[in-house]
């Protein structure tokens, strides 16, 4: 290592790869927390990241054992897992090890081993001196509007701005003369500073890792902003290299301040240990091997029920004959599983579909009066189109409590004695009768009813280089592809609803995480409305009907929004309905509203603070109140417990109670013999659902490091992040309130299609393939013709016969809901 010249750029690049990739709050999108390790097999990655960072990456042996003793891990599944495991341990010893192997007690991590020598050698807590200054300086530079006095000397880049500040002030940030010289130096290299601080080159890389992973939150946000500057509305130019340079400067300045320039030893001289190769591969230990068995047994204890249920229903697949009463598209989101089931229970003649709720529209959106574009499609897409609301702006409600005036000396003097008393009233009212306030984030606000959207692009108009709306041809492609993917080409009902979804909450910095993942953390109402408008155009209809579709002329599409927190629907452009359809719509409304209320009741069981011994309407009101209460940290439970993604026809899942645990993507295998439709489905669903699932998994397993801890002490920083108190690092991941009821299981992707087709599709995309090959997502395939189930294990398909003989059949779920808030098993309905 010493022979090579230290390459700062590649070292930083390597480091950046491991930083948390969470965007600022307003753009919160789920992703695999351990994305940096995704090129390794799942359990290897768990073990290695645990060894490097000391984070917990799987349950402890005793936690698994407790699950086993509580019956959450089934005995027969456990036996099946160990019987099929490849291991050096003799088959007969395996169970004994699982039950009795002692768990490791002593805590260790590779990160921080070098840095601790500041403390050991100099009796100095460098972090305490440097971090707060670093966080404040970078925080104020990036601030989006909390402070009244923004960073006064904005130049292009963090370091040049600090230079400009430092040149024009009586009070300086840096005190050491040589640090000032280093700040103003022309050709700045990190290596120069490392020579001073670390001395010996062989420790450079380790030092940088130790330093940056002492505050992964701040390093991560700087890295994200460097890569996506548009994620901050008030753009800031910042590079990760500048950030590291600044931190090194602050460290030298701190040490110079205490000991005098050049009068302190570098850490290379203080350490007594050779440099550590942090990323050296770990040999699988016995404990980790046992953990992997436990985790699989835990997962298959659940999957087995699902596969058993699916096998049962595929056998009795019915052929549809009559025209449904109505059809409704929902997002594939796991939260929409229950609403679909509830609506179908109210009206068994209706038909529902699942599709990613950006509805195949690669777009930005600019609302009336908006100064920015908002992306409303998956983050992986670079949209070239924009939908514009062609009206003048609307007035927003104002609340002086959030404004700077109250923080000024004289403004504060007046406001405290006037508005202060009004605050008490407001608090009183909100506590006893929660209502919507300017503090509220509502899914319905995303796009106004009155919006005048420009959907069709006739003249080639552009805004900021983006095409406004779509041309006729573009619309045809989008619409036909979308309907085909869902398997809907004939048998259209008179009314087809398209529901986007979003969440509403108050006092919640995580509001973006409540919205549609396929729309980059925004509600998907706009997409639903635009898609409906497109498919209602006669010209588009003509095209569709000429290419294999048979959509009756009287069929109309309605865009809508499902608020998953409040369980409410809104519908757009219903004034365009024909008289007959308007009548049908009002009939359907009764069904839909009943479904919503029942869904609210089903969800309420998990809140445990709402009594289920009252009328459904009252429960529904209580559920709605959660979204506007200041004091409700769990307006809804989001994706908690997600662990399935089923790609197939509704027929195979319709009779199953999946307890909001499954993403459901409609797909008709019979229309897709070559896998052409399945390819985009899997390429989109695998990273999105897998990302959500793994973020929940890791935030639940180690809520202190992968998760954000409890959200109750959180303090908003710069409008882009949260920290605990005023001195803490930025917190990434999900707060405990979002994940506490989540069972940490990996996602199982279940596809209804011939195995050969699925394997072919997976092999087409290396990124998608990696998820399955390395076991970050499990895979099962149901052959629709033979009804055989295959499970993908060890990079090959194995025939799987469910261990469970059959599922319990339940006619009415309500008595079960009333007595337990626990996660339920899978039931067969009717």
């Amino acid at each position: 290592m010493t022979s090579k010249q230290f390459d700062a750029d590649s070292c930083l690049k390597h480091l950046q790869h491991y930083l948390p990739a969470q965007a600022p709050l307003k753009d919160f999108v789920h992703h695999n927390t351990l994305h940096a390790f995704q090129s390794k097999p799942f359990f290897e990655a768990l073990q290695q990241s645990h060894a490097i960072f000391g984070y917990k990456t799987a349950l402890s042996l005793n936690e698994y054992r407790a699950l086993y003793h509580n019956g959450k891990i089934a005995e027969d599944v456990l036996d099946w897992v160990i019987a099929n495991a490849t291991s050096e341990t003799a088959l007969t010893d395996r169970k004994n090890l699982m039950l009795n192997f002692p768990q490791t007690v002593d805590y260790s991590r590779k990160i921080g081993e070098l840095r601790k020598f500041w403390k050991k050698g100099l009796k100095l807590d460098l972090n305490t001196i440097v971090h707060l200054n670093l966080f404040k300086l970078v925080g104020t530079y990036l601030d989006q509007g909390i402070s009244a006095n923004p960073f006064p000397a904005q130049k292009k880049g963090l370091l040049s701005s600090i230079q400009s500040l430092e040149q024009n002030t009586f009070f300086e940030f840096f005190h050491s003369k040589r640090v000032k010289e280093l700040l103003f130096k022309k050709n700045k290299t990190i290596t120069d500073l490392l020579v001073i601080l670390v001395g010996d080159e062989k420790y450079f890389e380790q030092y940088l890792f130790d330093q940056q992973f002492a505050h992964p939150g701040w390093s991560g946000i700087v890295n994200v902003i460097e890569k996506n500057p548009q994620t901050l509305l008030a753009r800031k130019h910042i590079t990760f290299a500048d950030f590291v340079y600044l931190e090194l400067l602050l460290e030298i300045d701190a040490l110079d301040g205490i000991y005098g320039a050049g009068k302190w030893p570098s850490i290379g001289e203080l350490t007594t240990e050779p440099p550590c190769d942090i990323f050296q591969n770990e040999l699988t230990t016995k404990e980790w091997e046992i953990k992997s068995w436990w985790q699989e047994a835990y997962e298959f204890s659940f999957y087995d029920q699902v596969l058993c249920g699916l096998k049962g229903t595929t056998a009795s697949q019915s052929v549809k004959t009559e025209i449904p009463s109505f059809q409704a598209f929902f997002c594939i989101d796991d939260r929409e599983e229950s609403i679909r089931r509830q609506i179908e229970l109210v009206d068994p003649r209706c038909e529902t579909f699942g599709t990613p709720a950006h509805f195949n529209l690669p777009i930005f959106y600019r609302p009336a009066g908006g100064k920015f574009n908002t992306q409303v499609c998956p983050g992986s897409i670079q949209p070239e189109h924009i939908i514009v609301d062609d009206r003048t702006s609307e007035k927003n409600r104002r609340d002086l409590h959030f404004h700077q005036t109250s923080h000024g000396l004289f403004g504060g003097w007046i406001i405290a004695q006037t508005l202060g008393f009004w605050s008490a009233m407001k608090l009183f009212v909100n506590i006893f009768k929660p209502t919507i306030s300017p503090a509220h984030s509502s899914s319905f606000e995303h796009m106004s009813h009155k919006s005048n959207l420009i959907i069709e692009n006739v003249n080639g108009d552009k805004l900021n280089g983006l095409k406004i709306g779509f041309t006729h041809d573009e619309m045809c492609t989008i619409v036909s592809q979308e309907l085909k993917k869902a398997g809907l080409i004939d048998g259209f009902a008179p009314l087809v609803y398209l529901f986007g979804h979003g969440g509403s909450s108050t006092n919640n910095p995580y509001y973006a995480g409540y919205n549609c993942g396929a729309c980059s953390g925004r509600p998907s109402s706009l997409n639903a409305r635009v898609f409906a408008a497109m498919v209602n155009k006669p010209a588009i209809r003509n095209f569709l009907n000429s290419t294999g579709f048979s959509i009756p002329d009287e069929t109309q599409f309605i865009g809508g929004l499902h608020d998953t927190t409040r369980d409410e629907f809104v519908f757009y452009d219903t004034q365009n309905l024909s008289a007959r359809n308007a009548e049908l719509h009002s009939v359907n409304l009764v069904t839909l509203n009943k479904g919503l209320a029942n869904n609210a009741k089903e969800r309420a069981r998990q809140f445990s603070s709402i009594s289920l011994n009252q009328s459904t309407a009252k429960i529904h009101t209580a559920v709605k109140n959660r979204s506007v209460s200041l004091f409700e940290p769990r307006p809804e439970l989001n994706h908690s417990n997600n662990c399935l993604c089923i790609v197939g026809t509704r027929a195979i899942t319709k009779n199953l109670f999946l307890d909001q645990r499954s993403f459901l993507n409609s797909y008709d295998w019979s229309l897709d013999p070559t896998g052409e439709l399945l390819t985009p489905i899997l390429n989109a669903a695998t990273p999105v659902c897998g990302g959500i699932n793994l973020e929940y998994y890791f935030s639940r397993i180690d809520n202190e490091n992968f998760g954000a801890g409890s959200k109750l002490p959180h303090n908003v920083v710069g409008l882009f992040g949260v920290a605990n108190g005023i001195e803490g690092d930025l917190r990434t991941g999900l707060p405990i309130q979002m994940v506490e009821v989540h069972d940490p299981l990996r996602l199982m992707m279940i596809i209804e299609q011939k195995p050969a087709v699925v394997l072919d599709v997976i092999n087409r995309n290396a990124n998608t393939k990696q998820w399955y090959e390395n076991g970050w997502v499990n895979l099962a395939i149901i052959d629709p013709e033979t009804k055989e189930i295959f499970v993908y294990r060890g990079k090959k398909l194995c025939l799987y016969t469910p261990l469970k003989p059959g599922l319990e059949t339940v006619k009415d779920l309500n008595p079960i809901f009333a007595v337990t808030s626990e996660n339920l098993p899978i039931f067969n309905l009717n």
């Binding site: 989006q144 006095n149 405290a416 008393f421 004091f631 490091n705 109750l712």
Partner: protein
Amino acid sequence: MQNLIVIFILLPLLGFLVSLIIPAKQEKAISYVAFFTTGSVAIWIVIFTIWWIINGAETLNIREIVLYKSDNYTFLLDLFFDKVTAVYLLFSSALAYLIAVYSRHYLHREKGYKRFFNTKLLFVTGINIIVLSGNFETLFIGWEILGVSSFLLIAFYRERYLPVRNALKVYSIYRIADIGILLAMWLSHHLWHENITFVQLNDTAYVNHYLHEHYLTGLFISFAIILAAAAKSAQFPFSSWLSRAMEGPTPSSAIFYGSVAVHIGVFLLLRTYPFWSVLPLVKWNVIGMGLTSAIIGSVSARVQTSVKAQIAYSSIAQIGLIFIEVALGLHWIALIHLTGNAFLRAYQLLISPSIVTYLIREQFFNYKPVKKSKDRTWRRLIKNSIFVIGLKEWKLDGMMYKFLWAPLKKTGQLFHFITGTQAIVISALVFLSSAIIIQQEVNLPHVIAYAIPEVFGGIALIMVLKAFTERKRTFFAWGLVILSHFWIAIAVGFNDTFSAEDTIFYLSGVVLSGGSGYYFLYRLRQRAVFDLNDFYGHSMEHKWLSFGFLLSCLALAGFPITTTFLGEDLLFTHIHEDQVLLAFFVSVNFIVEGIALMRMYARIFLGPNKKDYHPVPLRDA
């Protein structure tokens, strides 16, 4: 009716005790206790105030519940009710109730649900005692309770490092405030030769008469009071703690550091106004301090990028203004300002998570890029300087460390050579001979008799300083704290008035808490590894030992649960007015001792518990 005033104290105290025995899983029961307790207090203050106004709104003084009495010392509880009490109780009870209802839902399923409500009820008890107190002795009980409940709420997330460190930081500042009260009490005894009540202070002629004769003593008492008020209200130079206290769940920050607790310094000033306002120097000092705090507070508030820090500094600035209003005698304005500010900041803190939704929406629709400033050089210079100094919070946090804690640490480290055996043997010999001297009333040469209390006081101080800086030997440090109590008792014992009964009364509490603390440490030693060089977080796996040891620490630090508490005041009474050095030693001793004990508790039982099988939070998390 006026005797029913005790309800304000007994009700929350009862609520606190009941909440202690409810099992932690019974969220509903716990929250109902808090709900009904704070609700009843809120209703009761409304009824009481109406009754009081109808009856002419005269100042009430309910005297004399004697807690301890010896030949020339009595500890009296005395209650008092006037417009300041009424206003403070009205708004603090309203907020306590609203926050109790708020937290019922907000803290649902939180690990420390029970702890939160226990602490909150303890806090309400403490505040009500302070606000209703009729003399310094009574006030001091509430003052201590407030300090401990603050520590517990800041360190609510005890498995993380920063909350624990900041809790210690704030507790240290609070301890300084405690000493302000203790010193004020000490000199008051000598000034008035009795337990002065606040109602007596309202007698202007009486106060004037005494202050005329004892100007310096009066000045000293006033500054002790102002020190206490400034420390608790985060005024200059103590301002940096307030934002660092925002570590607990948001509602606790709202009621403590947004409103009720942080305004208590104002209350103290209002309560003692008739006394110190007689002295113009003091008045000007309060005005100067208020003005300084207002300026540094608002400058810092303008550049903070985290919501809670911003609210904290805005609040400090307003409290600075309130200090000025109090000093100018504008008491109704001060009361209105105080109430409004408390409500405003509490509410701003509660809705602080919403600021993202709100301001991002504002920004989305109203964004205007910052214009390149075309300021002249000198304006830019001033602007930038203010920005930097505000961002650095006027370096007050660093200064606290440099001027207060670092000297103490350095002094303690000078005595690292002391060993346990030495300390015990020498102490035992000295105690024995001293006991004989005192008992036999041996006549010592005048100089020696004069010097002994001071010397012994100094030795006691060295012992706690050593305990404060000890990093390895836990039992040794614990022993030193106990020994130091003995040294103080003997030191004061040489002052003839301090009787053997008084000594035994005082030391009985020390022996009890010292012994129990030893026992808990011993039990923990058998099960786990710890020293004082790191944070071990053993409360996670040894809950009961942690609770027991906390009680022992509190008792030993003079928290009102054993006789040590009364003993402290008793001791001070027997320090003569001219023994300034001894008074200094003893008061510094109490400050450092309290901090040393909480530091021990924090290092052994709080902070991250490092085990492979559960999550270990980062130091900076």
